[in-house]
């Protein structure tokens, strides 16, 4: 599954595309972790604006990245989830560890 990485001001933004399920999450994880390990950013932004489907594998993906970012002293932000994706995030209480926000006004 495609992940586009953008680097700006010491932040890594991973733009996720398509469907996030157990099958696709593994390659997304690998893509994101490669950039995080190489760049060691202060903040990892996960952009869900182009994600068309997500199940609880997406929560696992965020939790895993939160753990990685914690180890290097950074944090994780969730950007632009659709209503149905936000419904899943709300169920998980993930907003306690990763801020959910829109970054479209930038």
């Amino acid at each position: 599954m495609p992940v586009t990485i953008e680097v700006k001001n010491g932040e890594v933004k991973a733009i996720l595309q398509g469907e996030i399920d157990h099958h696709n999450a593994a390659s997304m994880r690998k893509n994101i972790d490669e950039s995080v390990e190489r760049l060691r950013p202060k903040r990892l932004k996960l952009d869900f604006g182009e994600v068309t489907f997500m199940d609880s594998s997406g929560i696992g993906l965020v939790m895993g990245r939160y753990n990685t970012m914690s180890l290097i002293g950074g944090d994780v932000e969730i950007n632009n989830p659709s209503a149905s994706i936000e419904k899943i995030f709300n169920l998980s209480g993930i907003s306690k560890i990763a801020k959910i926000c829109s970054d479209k006004e930038e």
Binding site: E19, D21, H22, H23, A25, R29, F53, M54, D55, S56, S57, I59, G60, L61, M63, G64, A83, S84, I88, L91, S92
Partner: protein, 147 residues
């Protein structure tokens, strides 16, 4: 036993690539109830969770078949059964506890929580060494409901 007005059966191999196919197939079958976008998304997500459980847990180090049936009843109710012949669940209550996972790492432990919050009723029947059946029920009010 109520008689369904329509029914479909689907058998898939426990390969993760089939997760997308199975959720789309069930939601396409449900489309005849004229569901809202949200209702379709709820069904897709719940089916994806149940099928993923079969692949990740039931057939963990093996492979096998996953049997899916969907039935539509008068009044707009859909009942989806996802059955495997895998290892079975030793403790169903524990398995359904939010955030509990036997896997750790990247599994969130929220599969059953997602099914329960997106469907009206979730029933789990499991037999150790024989397999598990998850039954998902949802009332579809659809796009043409009055409210």
């Amino acid at each position: 036993m109520r008689t369904p007005i329509n029914e479909m059966r689907l058998t898939i191999e426990s390969r993760s690539i089939n997760e997308a196919f199975s959720r789309v197939a069930v939601s396409a079958f449900a489309a005849q109830l004229d569901p809202t976008v949200e209702e379709i998304s709820d069904i897709k997500t719940a089916v994806s969770e149940a099928v993923t459980n079969c692949i990740v847990h039931a057939y963990e180090n093996t492979s096998g078949r996953i049997y899916i049936t969907a039935k539509i009843f008068e009044g707009g109710q859909i009942v989806v059964k996802i059955r495997d012949r895998g290892c079975g669940i030793p403790d169903i209550k524990q398995a359904m506890t939010p955030l509990y996972t036997s896997k750790g790492g990247e599994r969130s432990g929220l599969g059953f929580s997602v099914m329960e919050s997106f469907m009206d009723k979730v029933t789990v029947y499991s037999n150790l060494g024989r397999g598990t059946t998850v039954t998902l029920l949802k009332q579809i009010n659809g796009r043409y409901s009055d409210d």
